[in-house]
Point group: D2
Chain length 363, copies 4
C-alpha cells in the first residue's frame, strides 16, 4: 500500500490539505459490532488539536469529527468508516508571501520537485494537520484493541530539547498521569523544566525538538509478520511517517548497540503461568513477533522548522531572500504528538492482530 493508505486488513486512507475544506480518513476492515460513536474518537482529537494552551499554536480548530458511514445505532457494520473533520480556520493568506521561496526544512521545495505544484498555503499534506485523520482512525483501532484484546497504549514526552525525563515506569504510566501537565510528561519536576524550555524557545522566536516514548501493554505473544512486516518494522514505518520524526528505537535501541550480548539478552523466566523475560531490552518483540512483554519504543522529533525569527534563503530561481514566518506555529510539537504516536501504534497493532487472528485454527 502506497501513499495515503496504511495497513493490510485494518486499513486507513487519510485525505486533506492543511487549508482545504476538510481532513479525514476512511477506515476499511474494522470488524463489525464494535461500539463506536463520535465521542469515542473526539478525546484523542482534542488531545492532538491546536489551541490547547500556551504551549501550542493559537490556531483554533474545533476539530469535530463526524462519522459519515460504517456505523448504525452506535455499532460498526464492518464496512468503511468515513471520518470527516472540517477545516474551520483557514487562513491561506498568511502563507502567500512564502509561495515564491521554499521555507527551510519544510516540504515546500520537495513537493514542488515531486509534483510540479504544491498547495499554496501551509504544508498541504506535509502539514501536521494531516495527522488529524490518523488520530481519528487510530482512536477506532485503539478501541478495538482495548475491547477485544485488552491492549493499552500510553505515550508521553520523555525529552524536550536537553531536558530528559528517563524516570517513567512503562509498566504503570497511564494517560491521566501523562495529561496532568500540559507538556504531557508525567513527572512533575521534568514537566516543569520542559515547559520552561518551550517557553524559552518561544520567547527567543525559536523552536525546540523532543522525544516521545510509548508503551503498548497487554499485547499477546504472536503478533507481527516475519521478515518485512515485523512488528518493529511496521512501528518504525508508522513513526517515521509522522511529520518531523527523525528517529525510532525499540527496547534497548541505540544504547543496545554499545552492549555485550551477555548483558543484553533477556533471560526467559516463568511468569504468571507463561514464559516471560526477566528484562525487556527486546522491547516486547523478538524476531519481529511480540513476546507478551510491553512494547516500548521512542520517537525523536526535530524542532519545528517554522520559527519566528527571519532566516536567509533563496527563492525558487535561486535569488537570495529573507524568510519570515507568519502562520501560526508551535515552538515544540511533542506534547501534541503524543496522541499521534499512540494512534499510529494502534493502527499497526490492530492490523497485526487481525492478521494473526486469520491464522488461528478454525473451530
Amino acid at each position: 500500500m502506497m501513499g495515503s493508505s496504511f495497513g493490510t486488513l485494518f486499513r486507513v486512507t487519510t485525505f486533506g490539505e492543511s487549508h482545504g475544506r476538510a481532513v479525514g480518513a476512511v477506515v476499511d476492515g474494522c470488524p463489525p459490532r464494535l461500539a463506536l460513536r463520535e465521542e469515542d474518537i473526539q478525546p484523542q482529537l482534542d488531545r492532538r488539536r491546536p489551541g490547547q494552551g500556551r504551549l501550542t499554536t493559537e490556531r483554533d480548530e474545533a476539530d469535530r469529527v463526524t462519522i459519515l458511514s460504517g456505523t448504525e445505532n452506535g455499532l460498526t457494520l464492518g464496512t468503511p468508516i468515513a471520518l470527516h473533520i472540517a477545516n474551520r480556520d483557514m487562513r491561506p493568506e498568511d502563507y502567500t508571501a512564502l509561495a515564491a521561496a521554499p521555507r527551510p526544512s519544510h516540504a515546500d521545495y520537495t513537493y514542488r520537485a515531486k509534483y510540479g505544484i504544491a498547495a499554496s498555503s501551509g504544508g498541504g499534506r506535509a502539514s501536521a494537520r494531516e495527522t488529524a485523520g490518523r488520530v481519528a482512525a487510530g482512536a477506532v483501532a485503539e478501541k478495538l484493541l482495548r475491547e477485544r484484546w485488552g491492549v493499552e497504549i500510553v505515550g508521553w514526552v520523555s525529552a524536550v530539547g536537553e531536558v530528559d525525563c528517563p524516570a517513567v515506569d512503562p509498566a504503570t504510566v497511564d494517560r491521566p498521569a501523562v495529561d496532568r501537565f500540559a507538556v504531557r510528561c508525567p513527572q512533575e519536576e521534568a514537566a516543569r523544566r520542559m515547559e520552561e524550555e518551550i517557553a524559552r524557545a518561544r520567547e527567543e522566536q525559536d523552536s525546540v525538538g523532543g522525544v516521545v516514548c510509548c508503551v503498548c501493554r497487554g499485547v499477546p505473544p504472536g503478533w507481527g509478520e516475519p521478515v518485512f512486516s515485523k512488528a518493529e518494522a511496521l512501528l518504525a514505518q508508522a513513526m517515521l511517517s509522522i511529520p518531523a520524526v527523525k528517529g525510532f528505537e525499540i527496547g534497548s535501541g541505540f544504547a543496545g548497540a554499545r552492549m555485550r550480548g551477555s548483558a543484553h539478552n533477556d533471560l526467559f523466566v516463568w511468569k504468571e503461568g507463561r514464559l516471560g523475560t526477566l528484562t525487556n531490552r527486546s522491547g516486547g518483540v523478538q524476531g519481529g513477533v511480540t513476546n507478551g512483554e510491553p512494547i516500548v519504543f521512542r520517537v525523536a522529533f526535530k524542532p519545528p522548522a517554522t520559527i519566528g525569527r527571519p532566516q536567509p534563503g533563496v527563492d525558487f530561481a535561486g535569488r537570495p531572500v529573507r524568510i519570515e514566518a507568519r502562520g501560526r506555529h508551535d515552538p515544540c510539537v511533542v506534547p501534541r504528538a503524543v496522541p499521534v504516536v499512540e494512534s499510529m501504534a494502534a493502527l499497526v497493532l490492530a492490523d497485526l492482530a487481525l492478521i494473526q487472528n486469520a491464522r488461528r485454527p478454525h473451530p
Copy 2:
C-alpha cells in the same frame, strides 16, 4: 504487502529457512532490458556471506546465486527474476538440543507462540541467513538505480560496542575504502580498535553490538510518497526488518531532538544550477520526499543473542535449564550487515523511483 514481500512496483518476495534446501527471492517488476547476470549479484552475496575471515562465523556456504527466470542473454525481460541460493552446509543436529528451551533474545519462543510450530534448527526465517535473499534482490535494485539514475549506495560500520567512528565523510566514502578492513569501517585507527573489540568479545565467549551508517548519493529530488510511504518511513521499515536491528535515525536523528530550530534548519542555497541546502540535518528528505542531498541514516544492531557462555533459562514448560550454544555464530554482525543495509536501501529506492517515474507526464 505483508510478511515476506516488500515493495509496490519493484517487489521482492524472499523464501527459505536457515537449514532447509535453499533460500532465495523472486523480484517482480524490475524494468526490462537491464543487463543482469549472476556475476552482478554475487559480489554483494560474497560480502554478506559467513566465513569471510576471523571476524565472522566459520559456517562455510558458497552462497552461489542462480538466476532461474526473468533474464535472457544477460538482459532482464521485465518478468519475475527468481534467484536461488542452495543451502550447502546444513547442520540441523547442532540445534536439536535447543528445541526444548527457547534461547534468550531469539525468536524461538515467539515463533512457537505465533505458529504453534517452528523450524527445529537454527532461526528458521528469523535467522540472519534469510537476508541472503534480500541481498540478491537488492543487488538487482542497486544495479537498476546506478545505471538509470546514477545512484550510489555505500554503507559502513560506524560503531562496534563503545568504539565509535564518527569521522567518515558521507560525500566521498566508497566501497573499496569500506572493504579495506575486514570490519568494514573505512577509518584505519577506528577499524583496528573495532577489530580488537570483536576479538575481545569472542575471547570472552560474548558478542557485541554496533551501528551501520549508510549514504545514498545521487538520488534526485522528488522520490518518496507523502504520508505513510515517506522515503524515511520506508527506509525505517526496511532497516527494522533486518534481524537484530533496534533503532533507525535519519539526518540529525535523536541528536536533532535536542536542538533548536534555528540551529537545525537546513538553509536553502543555490548549488550547481539547482536548489540545495547548506547543511543536511534533514538527511536528504523533507516531508518524506527526497531533496537531492545525500540520504544519510544510521542503523543500530544489538549484540548477537547467541553467545558461547552458558546462560540460565527455562524450557517451554517453565523448568529451569542451562542454555548452551553450539551452532556457528558471529560475535558481531555489523561487518556482514553492511551489504544487507545497502540492499534494503536499494529496494526502497528502486520502488520509489519507479513510482515517481509513473507520475511523469507522458511525452
Copy 3:
C-alpha cells in the same frame, strides 16, 4: 488491496451505506496538474443517478459531488482527492419491515452471515447506491486518460431481456448517440423495443436483466501486467464487482469458445504506421497486454432482485413469510449501469497506464 479499495498506483477507496449520511470516494495517486473541478465529475453522476425518467427509480437524489481535498485552483495537487456526495433522500423506514426476513437474491442474508450485523435499511454497501462513489472516482480517471493518452470510453446497452442490439459499431459509437434514448441504446429501433420491455416489466411488477457493452478506444499497446493483472483480468474483476453483474466477456468471449483457431486468430497487418490486426476477436488484449486495437467487452446484469409483486420466503429463523418490497427500485438497471461500467473501465486503465509509465526508460 481488499474490500473497498481498488488499484495500485491510481487507487480508489469508496465509502457509504445506501441510507447513511453520505457516500463517496478517496482517489489517491492521481497525477498532479490535471485540471479538475466538480463540473468535470458531475455529468457522469447525473447519468448514473436515479430519477432520470420513467425508466428508473423515482428516488430523488441530487447527487451533488463536492471535492473536499486534493485540488487547488482547479488543478490536482497529486494528493488524495476526497469526493463527498450527501445522501439527501433517506427513507430507512421503507425498509424496516424487511429486517426480519432476507429478501431473495439480495445481500441481506450474506451480510448477516459475514458480519453478524447489517445496515437496517436498503442494501448497505451492497446497494447500487455504493456505485456513486465509483462513478465520481471514475470520472477523474477518465479525464486523466482522455487528456494524457487520448483514451475514449463508451458504454451502451446492448440487450434488455430478450431484446438484443448487436448492430452497434464499437469503432464509432459515442456518448451523445448513446444518450439519445433514455435506455442508452444508440440504435433507435432496438432502443424503442427495450423501453417497451422495461415498461412491460414495470407494469407486471417485475424486473428484467440486460447487457452493457463497452469500448475503450485509443489505448496504446503495452498496458496490462502479465499473469494475474492482465488487462482483461482486472477488467473482469472490476465488472464483476458491480452489483448485479453475473458475467463478463472480452472480444469473442463465450462465442469464441465455439470457434476454430483458424477462424479466431487475428491476423497482423500494417495499419497507419504500426502493427494492427485485421479482426479483433482478441478484444484489444493479447496475453493480458493491450495491442492498440479497441478494447471491447460485455457485461451481463441479472434482473434486479427487488420486484413489486410479493414473493414467498422465510425469516432468519426459518419461519415462512411473504416478502413485499416497498422501497424505490428500478425495473431494469442497465441504462444507469452504463456510466458505472465506463467508470470501472477507466479506473482499471488509469492504473495500468501509470504502471506501464513507471517502466518507461528515464530520459
Copy 4:
C-alpha cells in the same frame, strides 16, 4: 498486488519463462501445521502437464515439484513455501524462426510493445507453461480448504467447440468421474463427441475452443469482501488471468440477463438447520459474499492460437510473411485447463477464508 502475485493473506507469486531453467511459485501466508509433502501437490501438476495422451501436446515434461522451503517433517511452518519445477524439455530452437514476426493472437507483439524485449522462444510468461506454478500453489490452497473447511472444488469440460455437455450435476460431480475420459467431461456420450471434435481439429491442423465449468462445494456463508473484492469479482479476475480465457460467468451468467426477476430470484427456504435457496441462479454468492450454496461458474477458452496450417502475417517492420508453427502445441487446451481453473478457484477461496477468519471474534 500486481503482476505475478495474487492474494492478500494467502499470497502466491509465480515465476518462470516457458523455456528457461525453471518455473514455480512462492506461497506466503499459508497457515502453519498443514500436512504438506510433494505428493500432495504432484497429482494436480500431473493433470495439468502436457503429454497425457493423444489429446494434448507431445512435449514431455516430468513436471516434478520440489518444496524448497516452508515445511519441515511434512508440516507447513507458516513461512513461505517455495515450489520449484525444473524445465526439462527446452527446445528454444523450435521458435527462432518466429522471432522476426509476431504470431497471430499470441503475446509476441504485445510483450515487445510493453517491454521492448521478449523471451526469444515460446510464449515466455504468456505461455500456458506459466500455469504450472499456479497449479502447484493451488494444490496447497486446495488442501487447506479441504482440511480446514471441507471445501471441495471440481472442474470439468462442459463444451468443446460446438459440442456441449450441459447435463452435469454440480451437486455430485467428482474428480474420478471427470478423469474417466481424457477430455475431462464426465458424461460419456459428450466426452466421446468432444474427443472426436479435438481429433478432427488436429487432423485439420487447426485448434478448437471450449468451456470449463467449476463447482466449489462446502464453502460456508460469509466469504467474500464487499465492493471490489466480491467473491465473484476475484474469481473473475482469477479466471481471466488464465491464458486463452475470454469469458466468465457465475450462476445464471449471460442467460440471467435475459430473464425476469420473478423467475431469477432464488427464494430462501430452510435447509438442514440453516437458510438456503430453492434455486441457485446466484451461483453461490449474493452481494459478493458466499451464501452456503455451491459456487458454480463457467470459463470460456478461445481456440489455441498456434495451429499447424500456415497463416499470413507481417513481420515487426510490416513486411508480409507466412507464419508457420513448429513448436509443440495442443489442438484444445480445456482438458488440461481443468486443474488450472480449480487451482485459481482454490487460491481465491483460501485467501477469502483467511480474511473472513480474521474478522471472527476472539475467544
